[in-house]
Subunit: 340 residues, 3 copies
């Protein structure tokens, strides 16, 4: 329960209206009831603002005129919302210590303030730093390390030789350090596995979504730089390098030895083919397929919006007889030139 | 082992041929041997019907003329097959009770008839209803609830504040309630995590495939309505709402705050961009990309069938010089108009 | 630490330069330091060869002229690299025996030399053959079998009735044998689950990536033949059959009852619709969508490379007014014919 006065102070804004009003929950503009706080960060929701029942709204000066209730006025309401949500978050907190059902190699180093939940299995020579939290049923194999304040959610598998920095979050059932997909054909046409002897190095302040997989390097490490945010169901192949603060949305696949720059935004279901480079500050729309390196910052796309099936079918047919249309135009041009 | 007479009675059909014949196994039309039962539900397999060695076939009146053996004649052979397969299913049955290697918070409520397998970890204030089955090595965090007769297969992670209804099946290694992908940029260009304080609400009779992930809501819950069927490797982002009886095939990705109506069918690898709406009764072909809301029921598509590489390359090149072709046509039109 | 003489002997090549030189690590051409061994298997990296600091390089006779250091000359440097990497691999080795925290049904058959890690759960009548390795927190349900020398990495779920051959590797958090996505509509428009009573049969020398899912068959088994290599995040639906030595890259989805031939290569994010056949020796480029059977070997494609957004938008608009362009050309043709 916070007063608007307190919130404005914490968030660096000012109150328009009654600063003694107290709020006890966050809510969307549409769903908010009396006693609750909401926010406007996307102009799509301006209509919801006009009719909101919230007792207060976080918004910019520009939106104030349309606000029917108290407001905390700020430069960046979305960022303010991030800070406020933390105040109202009821996620359970882990306790320090090692659960008796954890299985930990004798020469592993577990910091005193770390939390190791039930059925965690930790291999030889693993280091778990202070205030790190390892969720139930995680497995961390030999010679890996987890930095301070990093939280690993349940059922995650971390292979050997994986190094994860500080203040990271790895969501449930993700896999870090699985073998890259490397096979050579022998003289009989059979595949021979290429042992993947590199590791994975993950920087600080990285978040990795649920059911995401990041392969270890074939020789050198796969590298995820500081501040990278990766969503669920993402596949990152061996020897990929991802630059600082790049964010990658769900179900994206990045093939082996791709290098992605800093501050890129990849939409969902993006695919990047092997051995390519994507420079800094590239925005890839959802479902984009990248088969050539991108050397200029900018916004790139490669997907069609779904159409009624018959329209799509006709258009698709037209595309595949474009050669005929080109020939017809050429023929007309020739005839025209002849008659001229 | 069932006689055709018994089966016809159970399934609401009638026997054509010898109703005393007994069948002991289900088989495909092509693979069936004497003593086995098969079915015809797709006209693609009519040729297999003509040569089947099955002792009996479930089929419609229309297909009877082509059937070389006994038949159980029904309106909906596929539905009948669903019922019959249950009779022949040999999946292991779980036993009631809590395995001694389960770790359960003292204030969790586990119904007497529920089955909790080895190495399950259950958090504070979790409720597991009668006849629910929690597979080995699952983790269910604080304040979540699992309804009657719901089965959670092994290695599933259910975060805190997730509510799952009755008669659901959640397949192995899925994740329900992971954090949505929400980050705001601060003034230094660094990402600030937006705590995801909503939960997930799943209705009754929902099935969720293996390795699928469903994120918790940012503020309100992510909602999966009654009767929804979701396949493997699907990503459902925060605040998605999916209407009753909608079915979603594998490897599909649905971005944040998307609302999908009732009775929709989404093919595999479909992608839907954030904040869109898809109305009831929409059929999306496999690999469709949706970047605008769909407001009319119908069948939508957005993918090309793979072509021989050189044909694709030439066509692709033609597409990207369409501007030139348009100019050439325009030029011809002008010339024609001038000469006229 | 190996001398070049030893390596040449093991690999079936010859040394160019000083065969007494010893190498203690593998490295990329670019990253190699003195005392390290590198290799050239892709002409993309010829420039790196010219400036490498490696003490020796595995390469073909053709590349020798550009090599500034000692070389081991071979027909297939990539295959040689595969063999050498094994020599330098430091992955932890599992110990034989059953961990005391494993939960194993009384009538399961565990070979003496097998390794069963902590928190593994093994069901009734499961067979684990000699030298098989079951990683921590794996679950293997009733009536399944794991062949000799096969390794299952941590947190994998194997359902009942799954048979995996010899010398396979299944990476972490994968799921084998989950229910296929089969539902029939009843007369009220509600889904009725079709029990999936088939299993999964996996041959020898198969590798399956992390977070991949392979569904059990509806009636017959899903079949993965000898030598198949499957990457991470792949979805293989019920009753799929994959032929020998076919390799499937990450994030690919294969729908139900698809049959894929031998020696195919599927790029990342490929999608194949249900009930189709793909013949032997087909190469599918990344992101290809297959909606018709492929009956001729060859290289197939169906994806556009991402373009600057405005270019894509204009081209996309042109495509969807191709009908108008065709009409304009037709009109010109008619006018020309009239004037002629």
């Amino acid at each position: 329960m916070f007063s608007l006065k307190e919130l404005a102070l914490k968030l660096g804004g000012y109150v328009h209206g009654d600063d003694s009003v107290r709020v006890n929950r966050l809510a969307t503009l549409k769903g908010a009831k009396s006693g609750q706080l909401s926010f406007l960060a996307n102009s799509k929701y301006l209509n919801d603002l006009k009719t909101t029942k919230a007792s207060a709204v976080l918004l910019t000066k520009e939106a104030l005129a349309l606000c029917p209730t108290n407001a905390v006025v700020l430069d960046n309401p979305y960022l303010a919302f991030a800070k406020v949500a933390l105040l109202f978050d009821r996620a359970p907190k882990a306790h320090s210590g090692i659960h008796p059902f954890a299985t930990i190699a004798r020469n592993a180093h577990i910091a005193k303030s770390a939390s190791i939940a039930a059925n965690v299995v930790i291999g030889e020579n693993v280091t778990i730093a202070e205030h790190a939290i390892i969720g139930a049923n995680c497995v961390i194999l030999d010679n890996s390390s987890i930095g301070q304040n990093t939280e690993i959610k349940p059922n995650v598998t971390i292979y050997h030789g994986v190094h994860i920095g500080e203040n990271c979050i790895i969501h449930a059932n993700s896999v870090i350090g699985s073998d890259g997909f490397g096979n050579a054909k022998d003289n009989n046409g059979n595949w021979v596995k290429i042992p993947q002897i590199g590791g994975v190095t993950i920087g600080n302040n990285v978040e990795i979504g649920a059911s995401t997989s990041i392969d270890r390097g074939a020789i050198d490490d796969t590298i995820i730089a500081d501040g990278v945010k990766i969503d669920n169901q993402v596949q990152i192949a061996h020897n990929v390098v991802i630059g600082e603060n790049t964010a990658i949305a769900g179900a994206t696949g990045i093939a082996g030895s791709v290098t992605i720059g800093k501050n890129c935004l990849l939409g969902g279901q993006v695919g990047i083919s092997g051995h390519l480079e994507v420079c800094d500050n590239v925005l890839l729309a959802a479902a984009s397929n990248v088969s050539k390196s991108i050397t200029e910052p900018g916004f790139y796309t490669a997907a069609f919006n779904a159409r009624p099936h018959m329209e799509w079918k006709r258009t698709s047919a037209r595309i595949f007889r474009l050669d005929k249309l080109e020939s017809r135009v050429k023929m007309l041009e020739q005839k025209y030139n002849e008659t001229e």
